[in-house]
Symmetry: C2
Subunit: 165 residues, 2 copies
């Protein structure tokens, strides 16, 4: 590689805005979810994924990749959610190793109670701030970026690689 090509002003602006927005957004979502539903953002995400899955259940590894978390991290969170009664574990008869995380009715109820406020916040702080053009550009551009990262690199397992739906 030749000389390092530093970022120009607009590139810096984009990169900083991207990182800053994510940090702030995450902070707000965490606050709101914790306050309104006693959930961390990650926990919400887990419940949300489960709610959208067939039979409201997913295997640990699938779920881990869906929420882009490490296996051990998911084990921990599912443990928490299980204690709270929002999720339960189920074993698979065809594969003894497999464990399904299932959304309980109570978990579903909590999710349904939390979702409207969460979505409203996503709208307020993110979606509705963007013009339709910006929204599309963002979906296209970042969609491509994440796709490329997923397509390459089947090596690292810290977080199980997998496309999100």
């Amino acid at each position: 590689m030749g000389l390092p090509r530093w970022l120009n002003e607009e590139e810096k602006r984009a990169w900083n805005a991207f990182r800053s927005t994510h940090a702030l957004l995450n902070q707000r979502m965490d606050q709101q979810l914790k306050r309104d539903a006693g959930l961390s953002h990650l926990q919400y995400e887990i419940l949300a994924r489960l709610s959208g899955a067939p039979d409201r259940e997913l295997r640990m590894t699938e779920l881990a990749s869906a929420v882009q978390n490490s296996k051990s991290g998911l084990t921990y969170q599912i443990g928490q959610l299980e204690q709270a009664g929002l999720v339960r574990r189920r074993n698979c008869q065809s594969d003894v190793r497999a464990v399904y995380a299932c959304l309980t009715d109570e978990g579903m109820a909590v999710l349904e109670r939390a979702a409207p406020g969460h979505v409203a916040l996503v709208r307020e702080l993110f979606i509705d701030v963007l013009t339709p053009d910006q929204l599309r550009a963002l979906a296209d551009g970042l969609g491509e970026a994440s796709r490329r990262m997923l397509d390459s690199d089947f090596t690292a397992d810290p977080r199980t690689a997998n496309p999100d739906t």
Copy 2:
């Protein structure tokens, strides 16, 4: 508020791409920085901010807000970096409470060694994936989003609110 307005397909696409990209990107940067320079992404960010500041030093709180971390989190990280000799603390004579974190020559050297590879990766995985239009839309849209979040909410202190340069 009326009925919750759920996200339509494109909105979901944008939101998911945004979150997914950030997670993957962060993972890659962390990996690379750890491998090449023994730094976490956050530590790199800290060094980078310091390197761009007058006299290569910033007050703890300023730095915390610049890298969008909590005060206690920064205290911890500066402790680590100080042990590694990349940063040192300096007291201010005019204000006893104030503490400056200063980038050492060694810290600067480490940063200079890490920066090219880091920037190259940012380009490869983010900047260069986007079209010029997308880049501008992203800078504008997300810039606006983060600005709004910073402008509101002077209440929460978990992370000291402040615009980044």
